[in-house]
Symmetry: C2
Subunit: 337 residues, 2 copies
């Protein structure tokens, strides 16, 4: 029983031809009910399982999609992958995972490997260190659907699923203003990634909309970790006129800020409010739970999958869909006076 049974085995057992077996198995209308039933039964009896590799070679569709992310164990990305998988699995697609470690060379490598593996599409979030776009254009040349989620590059023919980072930044900042904060600082990331630029723009707009002047020294670009948050907030506190609130583009940076503020004996939220970004799981579990912007990553993954599906459906027409999801402000203790 360890041998794989093929449609030939079934054909032989039934004294018919493999073509007929194939037809029976595939609900082809041109087949008698009798033989169909017979084939089905013996197929079950012989424990036949379709070899998807052969089908893939024949049809040119592998029913695999490649997903490329910086690190799979970052909650934001694993949640997106979860969404993609859950949307695609019922339709017979499998998800192949690749990690870039934020390296452009690895990203290029991944794309080539996935293309060789004949994936039906590539869904990805661009790595931080990526500057070129040749490898993306190469994917398009091959007529393989390409969908960017969260981190994107602007390219003709590529669909994208993002959240409205501007809106997220705006709401977070407005919330702080509503809480009565007067001197709101912003901890941002590298602006070569649009997401950070957009969050900053939202912050800026919210301030000006409410008649608050933007202070250059209140905006600091940092890496996305706790240490960076500690250092940046220390710098802010040393200012002649220190801020009374921080909107951070990263939950980790926000956490670092909170830790530093506590070290200085500053009371949160009464004296100082903090808002993060991403709704990382830990933000909810903190004793002083953190207000943050939720990006609904599972939904983002599902949406990316849907966009991909539309693309394969009408592979003749070039679709270039830009889906922008709305962020949700999760108001928690770190910002409510």
């Amino acid at each position: 029983m360890s041998e794989k049974t093929t449609i030939y085995d079934i054909a032989k057992a039934l004294n018919i031809t493999a073509a007929t077996v194939s037809r029976a198995l595939n609900n082809n209308p041109k087949i008698s009910a009798a033989t169909k039933k017979l084939v089905m039964e013996t197929a079950a009896k012989m424990n036949y399982k379709q070899n998807r590799l052969a089908l893939a070679l024949k049809s040119g569709k592998s029913n695999n999609v490649g997903v490329i992310v910086p690190y799979i164990d970052r909650n934001f990305f694993s949640a997106i992958i979860r969404g993609i998988e859950e949307e695609l699995y019922p339709l017979g697609y499998h998800v192949i995972i690749c990690q870039t470690h934020e390296q452009e060379s690895t990203e290029i490598d991944n794309i080539n490997a996935l293309l060789n593996a004949q994936v039906d599409g590539i869904l990805m979030s661009v790595s931080k260190l990526t500057t070129q776009t040749d490898h993306f254009e190469y994917v398009l040349e091959k007529n393989v659907p390409l969908v960017f989620f969260d981190r994107k590059k602007d390219l003709k023919g590529v669909s994208t699923v993002t959240i409205d980072d501007f809106e997220g930044g705006y709401r977070a900042t407005k919330h702080l203003i509503d809480q009565g904060c007067k001197r709101i600082a912003h901890l941002s990331g590298d602006w070569s990634l649009e997401i950070y630029k957009n969050r900053y723009e939202g912050y800026k707009k919210a301030l000006t909309d409410h008649g608050i002047a933007l202070k250059k020294e209140y905006v600091i670009k940092t890496k996305s970790d706790i240490r960076a948050g500690q250092k940046a907030s220390e710098k802010l506190l040393m200012l002649p006129e220190p801020p009374d609130a921080i909107f951070s583009s990263s939950d980790y940076v926000a956490l670092g800020a909170i830790q530093q503020l506590k070290k200085h004996g500053i009371k949160i939220p009464t004296e100082f409010c903090v808002v993060g970004f991403s709704n990382e799981p830990f933000t909810k579990f903190l004793e002083l739970s953190m207000t943050t912007v939720d990006q609904s990553p599972v939904e983002m993954g599902k949406m990316a999958a849907k966009v991909f599906l539309e693309q394969v459906k009408d592979s003749n027409v070039k679709i270039e869909k830009k889906v922008v999801l709305s962020p949700t402000l999760k108001i928690r203790m770190s910002s409510v006076k």
Copy 2:
């Protein structure tokens, strides 16, 4: 340039046969250096990329491995997947992801789908609700290597990579004893999963080794979430002689316990110590950081991948390797008086 170039295209361009091209591309010794060079150059010029599907069909090896986990966005599992991917990618393998949602029927479904896709191996963690083992035996019948990580079923011919849960439970409990705790409770999980049973056994052994009697009412089986932790610890506090420490098999349950203790105004760690299990990322970020048992999931993933590789290397000999990793106790604030 959108057409895929095959070895036939190269052959035609060079007025040689596809077989020769194939040999040149594969470093076959029986070929002249001249033609080899020529083939290589035109292959590069024509942007040839090997079709791995065709190779897979021909060779019977897809160079894909299937990984099945309950949920991909649980940090423990995504970290394991990260380890697997990082170990296998350099060798040309790709990782296909499936989620069971803890359902046995989905698990069976996933296995069949992966088998149909001709994966070279399946690495998985058994779902909580799985009772049968037929589908695992079926994998073995097909001569597809099967490796369990963390959650396993005992089966002949299956390799496993786990951590020493007994040891983890023992160390956690001994640590509490060393801290001077006298009445140590244990919040466990469903014992149909060995891991929970073993952690309990470690707890028990540590107690008896130190001359402490096991109290039945101090051991409660719960689900693995915060709410369950709150409820269970409430029950413990209502006991005529409430405990002064909790060792929990789950970080989430431990967090629920801590929250409940605080509600009662109990001071941690001075009056009460808590130790969790898994080293979920949030445990480190809590204001009162949580002592917990680290399972080094990335290492576990790498090890599972290595075991798989050994298995495919000598596919003739049936290997049944049982790797047991050592857990590490991360001592933090929730348990140090």
